[in-house]
Symmetry: C2
Subunit: 181 residues, 2 copies
Amino acid sequence: MRQTDYVILGLLSERPMTGYQIKRIVDLRFRFFWSESFGQLYPALRSLHAAGLIEETGADTKRSHAQRTYKIKQEGLAALQGWLARPVERESVRLEILMKLYFSHLTEAEVMAGQVRLFQEKHEQDLAMLRMADKELRSIVNDDPNHPYILQVVDCGLKVNEAYLKWSREALKFLESRGNK
Amino acid sequence: MRQTDYVILGLLSERPMTGYQIKRIVDLRFRFFWSESFGQLYPALRSLHAAGLIEETGADTKRSHAQRTYKIKQEGLAALQGWLARPVERESVRLEILMKLYFSHLTEAEVMAGQVRLFQEKHEQDLAMLRMADKELRSIVNDDPNHPYILQVVDCGLKVNEAYLKWSREALKFLESRGNK
DNA sequence: CGGCGCATGTAACTTGTTACATGATTCC
DNA sequence: GGAATCATGTAACAAGTTACATGCGCCG
């Protein structure tokens, strides 16, 4: 069982879904701390099905590219709960921008400023999306037992992205002052 | 050329080094935003050598497990500078703790609090190391043209880890209040 | 009827980790 | 001479991406 398997089980614990829907949700909601590709998702769904942790609901599973909606089974939920209780194994972060910046005395400050501006734009977008999610969730926080937990996740995103943006502004100020020399 | 190749070129641009020393530096200084394993490093050193971007300095390269000290060549420096100027391609973050938290209405709040405490401890360590690096660098900021840039990198680490810790405290407060119910 | 969005799937490839084997050097 | 640390290397595996092929259903 890989991390991908547990992400799938988690999302299926909310409601039955297709692989495509899972991918959409990961891209939208988990964007700032996770990613999955179809190349991981579809094989993982097959193997979870083969392992009896999820089942297919609905009709025509015969056609080759028919829509497949999966539903979590008791066994799947148990596996998910086991994972939730086990300590985190892999926390991976790779920020190419920081590696570049580390060596950027070898290049023009103005070039590096361009890199930081792109970084800043990306995280401004993330922050905007997180603020929207936060606002919406707060208005329906009591509708579902998992909403308060999701708010915590969003809050981490808010804080980290605010830190990124604050840093971007300062780094840009520094690089721009260098560029003028 | 992969990301690993450029990290190696970057470190060799400071001074000649062995693969082992590169690994040590990545583990210590880049810890909070990067990682490399020996399984990547040694083959990468070979291929950079074969490509003529780095050269071996020193004597006995005949023995099988002899120490190999590599030095960057002009071509290597040019390749590195090219990479620095190209836009960032891959920015990857995977925070298992947030994925777990997202689904943690399915488990005991006290269990999840344990996960957050581990996260908190890890980032307290990172922050302590970053604060030390910051202090030391500030005292010798004019000794080397790359020090001001490295300070920027450290500053990003400081801000992000402070955000993580602030979040951890709040998330713990939330989870502990849930646990008592 | 053409394009778009939904949808599934896989093969080739790249990337990264782990475990292991080996050997050199230093210091007690 | 034994332990720790420095040091190199690889093979097997695991994880992840990309590019491509297929096909459905809806809307204009």
